[in-house]
C-alpha cells in the first residue's frame, strides 16, 4: 500500500515538473536569461519594453475587441436557436447539434483555406477591404465557438423550464425579444459567461486564421516577435499565460456550484 502511494507521488511529481518547467524557463528568459551565456543580471526591462510598445497594446486591443464582437454575435445566433429548438422543434435537435459540431471535423487551417478561397474574389470580395477581412475573421471565430457555445447554452436551457417561463411571459404580453433578453438570458447567464470567457481566451491567442487573413491580431504579433526578438516574446508569453489563467479562474468562479463541464475547444 505504501509502495503504491509512493508510485502515485512519482506520477504527480513528474506531471508537476512537466507542467511547471516550461513556465519557469519562459519566466527565466523574460528576465533576460540570467543563466544564459551572458550571465546577465535579472531585469524587468523586457516587460517594461513590451508594455511600453504600441504594437503590444494595439494587437491586444484588436484581439480583445474581436473577441467581444465574436461573443455578441455567437450568443445572438446560438441562444435564440437553442431556445427555439428546445421550445418548438425538438426534432431539429440532432440536425442543429450536427451543424454545431462540424467545426471539430473542419480544422481551423481548412476553415480559413475555404473562407479565403470563397471570399477573395467577386461576387463576395470580403478580403479586398480591411473591414471585410475583419468581418471574415469574426465569422470564423463565431464558427469555432459553435461547439462549446451551443452545448453550454443547451445545457443551461435544460436546467430551466423554458416552456412555463415562455408561457408566463407571453401571458403578460411579452414579445419574443423581451422573452429572450429578459426572461431566458438571465436564467442561462452562467452558461453564457463561461462560454464568453472561453471564447475570449481562445480568440486572444488565436494565430492560424488571423495570420492568413493578415489581421493585426495578438497571435500574429507574438509569432513575429518570437522570430525577431530574444527576450520580449518570453515576457509576452508570460502575460498571455496570465490572461489564459485569468479567464479560466473566472470560468471556475462563475460556474461554482453548477456541475463543471469540460470545454473541448479544438486544435491549435
Amino acid at each position: 500500500m505504501r509502495l503504491t502511494r509512493l508510485w502515485w507521488w512519482i506520477v504527480f511529481i513528474v506531471g508537476f515538473l512537466y507542467f511547471f518547467l516550461p513556465l519557469l524557463g519562459t519566466f527565466e528568459f523574460s528576465l533576460g536569461h540570467p543563466i544564459g551565456p551572458v550571465r546577465a543580471t535579472p531585469t524587468l526591462d523586457y516587460y517594461a519594453s513590451v508594455v511600453g510598445s504600441t504594437a503590444f497594446w494595439s494587437s491586444l486591443g484588436y484581439s480583445f475587441i474581436i473577441g467581444v464582437i465574436t461573443i455578441v454575435v455567437s450568443i445572438g445566433l446560438i441562444m435564440p436557436t437553442a431556445f427555439w429548438v428546445r421550445l418548438r422543434i425538438p426534432r431539429a435537435r440532432p440536425f442543429v447539434e450536427f451543424v454545431t459540431l462540424l467545426p471539430f471535423v473542419i480544422p481551423p487551417i481548412v476553415l480559413v483555406f475555404g473562407l479565403i478561397s470563397t471570399y477573395s474574389h467577386p461576387p463576395f470580395p470580403f478580403t479586398y477591404t480591411d473591414i471585410g477581412s475583419t468581418a471574415l475573421l469574426v465569422a470564423a471565430y463565431v464558427v469555432l465557438s459553435f461547439p462549446y457555445m451551443y452545448r453550454a447554452v443547451d445545457t443551461g436551457l435544460q436546467a430551466i423550464d423554458i416552456r412555463s417561463l415562455t408561457e408566463a411571459a407571453q401571458s403578460m404580453g411579452a414579445g419574443w425579444t423581451r422573452i429572450l433578453l429578459q426572461v431566458i438570458l438571465p436564467n442561462v447567464r452562467v452558461a453564457l459567461l463561461s462560454g464568453a470567457f472561453l471564447t475570449l481566451a481562445i480568440v486572444i491567442g488565436e494565430f492560424t486564421i488571423a495570420t492568413f487573413l493578415a489581421r493585426p491580431a495578438f497571435g500574429p504579433y507574438l509569432s513575429l516577435l518570437g522570430q525577431t526578438k530574444a527576450y520580449e516574446p518570453a515576457a509576452v508569453s508570460i502575460i498571455s499565460f496570465g490572461l489564459t489563467w485569468l479567464a479560466m479562474i473566472l470560468i471556475a468562479y462563475i460556474g461554482r456550484g453548477s456541475r463543471t463541464r469540460v470545454a473541448v475547444t479544438g486544435a491549435r
Partner: protein
C-alpha cells in the same frame, strides 16, 4: 355555418404548414452556418475535383500519392497517435493519482484548475515556452549541461523536430485527458471495488475485470479526441519549426502561401484528406461515447 362555429370545432392541424413556419426560427443560424462553414467547405470539395483549367478531374486525389504528401500525412498521423496514447495514458494516471491515489485532497482541485489552463495554453506562446526551456539555449538545456554535464543537443536532441513537437503537444494533450477522465474516475463506485474484494479478487483482478472494462470506452474515446486535437493543430507546429516540418497542416499552410505545388486543386484535395480523417475520428468517438454512457447514471 358561421365563422365562429368553425373556430369552435376541434380541427386537425395541417402538420405541413406548422412545420414550415416553425423552421423559420432556425433561418439566421442556418444562413450564417451555410455562408461561413458549409459553402467554404463545399468550395474546397468542388475545387478538389477540378484542375487548373477548371475541368473536372480525379487527378488531384491521385496526386495525393506523391511522397511529400503521403509523408506529411504519415508524420501527422504518427505525431497524433504518439501524443494521444502517451497523453492519454499519463493523463489517466495523473487523474487517478490525485483522485484515488491517496495524495492530499487539495492537489485535486489544483490539478483540475491547472489542467483547464494548460489545455487552453496552446499555439504560439506554448511553442515559445518550450523553445525557452528546451531550445539550444533553453533554461533546462543549460541547466542539464552546466549542472549535470549532459548536453542533450550533442546527443542528437532538438526541440525543432518531430520528437520536439510531440513533447510540446503533450503539454495540452494530457491536461485535456485529466479534465475528461476525472469525472469518469469519480464515477467508479466504491461498491464495485468492495464487491470484488468480498469475492476475493485482487487489486489487479479488480482492474482487469471491473474498472478497466467500465472505463475503457471513455479512455479510448478521449484518446481519439486527443488524436484529432493534435492532427488539426497548426499554430504550435508553425511557431516551433518555422513552418518547415512536413506535417499536413503546415503543408496546407505552405500551399496557401503559394510556396509549393502551384496547384490549387491539389491543395484542396489535401485539405479534404484532413477532413476525411477528422470525420473518421469523430465517428469513432461518437460510437465510443454511446458505449461509455451505459455506465453513467
Amino acid at each position: 355555418m358561421t365563422v365562429a362555429a368553425l373556430r369552435g370545432a376541434p380541427e386537425a392541424r395541417p402538420a405541413r404548414r406548422r412545420f414550415g413556419w416553425t423552421w423559420l426560427g432556425l433561418v439566421p443560424f442556418l444562413i450564417f452556418a451555410t455562408a461561413f462553414l458549409i459553402v467554404p467547405t463545399l468550395y474546397l470539395v468542388v475545387g478538389s475535383f477540378k484542375n487548373a483549367a477548371g475541368e473536372y478531374t480525379l487527378q488531384n486525389y491521385a496526386d495525393l500519392s506523391q511522397p511529400e504528401i503521403t509523408n506529411a500525412y504519415l508524420t501527422s498521423i504518427e505525431i497524433s497517435l504518439v501524443t494521444a496514447v502517451l497523453g492519454g495514458v499519463f493523463g489517466f494516471l495523473l487523474a487517478y493519482a490525485v483522485i484515488s491515489g491517496g495524495l492530499p485532497g487539495r492537489f485535486r482541485a489544483g490539478l483540475l484548475t491547472f489542467s483547464g489552463v494548460a489545455s487552453n495554453f496552446a499555439g504560439v506562446p506554448l511553442a515559445l515556452a518550450f523553445v525557452f526551456t528546451l531550445g539550444r539555449l533553453g533554461f533546462l538545456t543549460i541547466f542539464l549541461r552546466d549542472i549535470l554535464g549532459i548536453d542533450i543537443y550533442d546527443n542528437g536532441f532538438t526541440i525543432y523536430s518531430k520528437l520536439g513537437l510531440e513533447i510540446v503537444y503533450l503539454y495540452f494533450q494530457f491536461p485535456l485527458m485529466v479534465l475528461i477522465m476525472a469525472p469518469a474516475i469519480d464515477g467508479l463506485r466504491q461498491e464495485w471495488r468492495e464487491a470484488s474484494e468480498n469475492m476475493g479478487a485482487s487489486s489487479a483482478q479488480y482492474w482487469r475485470y471491473v474498472a478497466l472494462p467500465i472505463l475503457m470506452p471513455s479512455i479510448l474515446g478521449t484518446m481519439i479526441l486527443l488524436f484529432g486535437n493534435s492532427f488539426g493543430a497548426q499554430a504550435t507546429a508553425y511557431q516551433l519549426t518555422g513552418g518547415t516540418l512536413n506535417i499536413v497542416t503546415l503543408l496546407i499552410s505552405r500551399q496557401m502561401r503559394g510556396d509549393v505545388l502551384n496547384n490549387v486543386g491539389l491543395g484542396y484535395a489535401i485539405a479534404m484528406g484532413m477532413v476525411a480523417i477528422m470525420a473518421g475520428t469523430i465517428l469513432i468517438y461518437v460510437w465510443l461515447q454511446r458505449r461509455a454512457a451505459r455506465w453513467q447514471r
